[in-house]
């Protein structure tokens, strides 16, 4: 069988998949909107429990990582393969920094008993229960996407090593970039919704 290659097709495919991801999170955003509307005071107060500084650092980390992967794509297109791989490793490193921050952030919440299923959380108002339930569900699902995105990038690095991705064939790399921007984009919405709106 002949190898059929169509870069535009795989790019369209990636965009369509991104649409489905946005709608997946869309369901959670709807739920968030409804419950925020019904429990404005509790959501306001619960939001103040979150650490804005860590949230802001993570936002910067993700934005920079989006930039590095975009640079990796351009580098590859210009034939600078080693630079491209280095930039991809920087992106993965930033993803790891994000996850470490997340770990400490979640850990602090667990210490204070602010997690779904804890007796302390159930002793608070319903709005608090919902806020922290949504907080863990949405940032958790997002963190899962960070991991998936990082694995995706690792695969691309392996493909570059094998010579399957190179300066005239970089669609897979661009798709990884698109996916990574999506992960970034979702965080750009999560950050203000949980940390900033008071």
């Amino acid at each position: 069988m002949h190898e059929h290659r169509d870069d535009t097709a795989s790019k369209i495919g990636m965009w369509l998949f991104i649409f489905t991801e946005i709608l997946l999170f869309g369901g959670l955003f709807i739920v968030y909107a409804v419950y925020r509307y019904r429990n404005p005071v509790a959501f306001h107060l619960a939001g103040e429990e979150l650490n804005v500084i860590i949230g802001a650092i993570n936002t910067v980390v993700l934005l920079v990582s989006s930039a590095t992967i975009a640079m990796a794509i351009t580098a590859m297109q210009q034939g600078k393969r080693r630079l491209s791989v280095r930039l991809l490793w920087v992106t993965i490193l930033l993803a790891a920094v994000f996850m470490v921050n997340k770990y400490f952030e979640w850990g602090a919440k667990f210490e204070h008993g602010l997690y779904p299923g804890s007796d302390f959380l159930y002793s608070l108002s319903q709005g608090d229960v919902l806020f922290f339930g949504l907080y863990f569900a949405m940032t958790g699902l997002h963190a899962l996407h960070i991991i998936v995105g990082a694995v995706f990038i690792l695969f691309v690095i392996a493909y570059i090593r094998k010579g399957k991705v190179h300066e005239t064939r970089w669609q897979l790399l661009e798709n990884a970039g698109l996916y990574w921007h999506l992960v970034d984009l979702i965080w750009i919405f999560l950050f203000p919704l949980f940390y900033l709106i008071h």
Binding site: T8, V129, L130
Partner: protein, 537 residues
């Protein structure tokens, strides 16, 4: 027979020898035709299981009181029947089987855009089925919530919800990937000269369906995950005790599950739009109107979900809006019906088995559609809500619509798929018995519902006995018809007469390749110059 450059006829996709042999040559094949058949056999198997459960339920309902099973078993049965039939059979249904087999050939392509992803979709589909089935064998046994998994019962019941819900999620993921694959295929792989408005109507229907699969399925996916989080982590998304709102679950569920009805019915309409011109032997009436109505259905279908919740509690404005939109979404369906009927006008019709299925499709689809308007009207819905009427309507649309179109498509493309012919007389007999049984099974439900028989109970009041007897007998008549049909098709596939490339005189591209088609469909990608249903020459 096409000959390759060495002068040997090319082997068909059925005979082709790849690097694998036997079963492996099928379950690891990335050929869209083989994948289509993998879906066909899986779907038929589970259709048989779902049907068996349905027949047992009808046996239970043949007389008031407990006949063969108690309420608990009955609850589990209708849940399993629904989950299997909806998520495993009807939603993949026509797109996964005929979309895979026929669509690439119809648009003049050697395969779909992402053949390996296509195979992966089938494997994910199998994984989803296994998850659903594992709920039977482990923990608290089969779920008993109904296929809608309504909160709060879905996180309170002691039955085994998690595997069922995760299974439905996985099946949805498979459906998304199939839709994605088809959209890209249709965008990128149409043969030269095949502009959008020269594309046959079945690919058009799959295109609209693909978008619904892509944009609606994730919403139910996340909703099902919320049920999982609710059960395992105690996050109170839909639990009133924790501040959650069960009505919100219903909204999210139906935001997907109403459009899902169009995932089921649009490809069915597409198949009917292929069959009718082939047997009317003239071009389809109002090609563009059918295309536009397909897209309209796909679009408006997103905004009518509230009609499943008229009695759940919504503002008056929301009720009126959803009701109005429900009426509006009926218009493009009616446009299609008019187009099909007009296609038959003054045609010299070649009356064959697929044609019987197509016209009976129009009949059952109209019964289902018109009774849908009774449910879409606010006042009448309150009366028949949650009665047997809903069951009747639903099965006329989903089983009548998709089932008749599926069997019609099966009889239409059968010679192409297997390169053999079935016995036409037996096929017609099977159709007749099936059609009579089908109507006997579901039409009494309209009467029973209006008279007040509630759905989803293993028991009913004695005054509903006569209607239920007719319905139960109808179920077994229909099953008899189905056995005749299936046996006839199996015999045909094994030792039917050899079929020609174009036994019906169809004009779309799949009839221009040999039956069964060679591995890469076309020896040379065709150049399209004519309209898809050009019978003038």
């Amino acid at each position: 027979m096409p000959e390759n450059t060495h002068g040997h006829p090319e082997p068909s996709y059925l005979e082709y020898q790849g690097k694998h042999k036997g079963l492996k040559a099928w379950i690891f094949s990335t050929d869209h035709k083989r994948i289509g058949l993998l879906y066909l056999y899986t779907i038929l198997t589970f259709f048989g299981i779902g049907l068996l459960i349905g027949l047992l339920m009808k046996l239970e309902l043949i007389a008031p009181g407990q006949t063969i099973m108690g309420p608990d078993t009955y609850n589990r049965f209708f849940t399993l029947h629904g989950v299997i039939m909806i998520f495993v059979v009807v939603i993949p249904g026509l797109p996964a089987v005929f979309g895979n087999f026929v669509m690439p050939i119809q648009i003049g392509a050697p395969d779909v855009a992402f053949p390996r992803l296509n195979l992966l979709s089938w494997w994910i589909y199998i994984l989803g089925i296994l998850l659903v089935l594992s709920s039977l064998l482990t923990g608290g046994g089969a779920p008993d919530t109904g296929w809608t998994f309504y909160a709060p019962y879905s996180f309170e019941t002691g039955t085994n919800m998690l595997p069922a819900v995760l299974g439905a999620f996985t099946l949805g993921f498979s459906s998304i990937l199939t839709g994605l694959n088809f959209i890209v295929t249709i965008h990128r792989m149409r043969a030269p000269g095949m502009s959008w408005f020269k594309m046959p109507l079945f690919p058009w229907a799959l295109y609209g369906t693909g978008w619904i699969q892509l944009l609606a399925t994730p919403v139910v996916g996340i909703t099902l995950l919320m049920i999982v989080a609710e059960r395992t982590l105690g996050i109170g998304f839909f639990d009133p005790d924790l501040g959650g709102d069960p009505i919100l679950y219903q909204h999210l569920f139906w935001i997907y599950s109403h459009p899902a009805v169009y995932i089921m019915i649009l490809p069915a309409m597409g198949a009917i739009s292929e069959i009718l011109p082939a047997f009317a032997r003239k071009t389809i009436f109002g090609y563009r109107a059918i295309v536009i109505s397909t897209l309209m259905i796909a679009f408006v279908g997103y905004f009518v979900w509230g009609h499943h919740m008229f009695t759940s509690g919504m503002s008056g404005t929301a009720l009126y809006t959803f009701s109005l939109l429900t009426f509006i979404v009926a218009i493009p369906s009616a446009i299609k019906v008019f187009n099909w009927i007009s296609t038959l006008h003054k045609a010299s019709i070649n009356v064959q088995t697929p044609f019987y299925w197509a016209i009976s499709f129009i009949f059952v689809f109209m019964v289902g559609g018109l009774t849908g308007l009774i449910l879409g009207s606010l006042a009448t819905d309150v009366h028949v809500h949650d009665t047997a009427f809903v069951v009747g309507h639903f099965h006329y649309i989903v089983f009548g619509g998709t089932g008749f179109a599926f069997l019609g498509a099966m009889h239409y493309w059968f010679p192409k798929i297997y390169g053999r012919m079935y016995n036409a007389r037996r096929a017609n007999l099977g159709w007749l018995i099936f059609f009579i049984g089908f109507n006997a099974l579901y039409s009494p439900m309209f009467y029973l519902g209006v008279a007040g028989m509630a759905r989803r109970y293993y028991d009913y009041l004695p005054e509903f006995h006569s209607g239920n007897i007719i319905s139960s007998i109808g179920a077994y008549v229909m099953a008899t018809g189905l056995v005749i049909i299936v046996v006839n098709l199996i015999l045909g596939a094994r030792r039917g007469e050899k079929a020609e490339a174009n036994p019906w005189g169809g004009k779309t591209l799949e009839w221009s390749v040999p039956s069964p088609p060679p591995l890469e469909n076309f020896e040379k990608i065709p150049v399209v110059t004519r309209e898809p249903y050009d019978y003038s020459a």
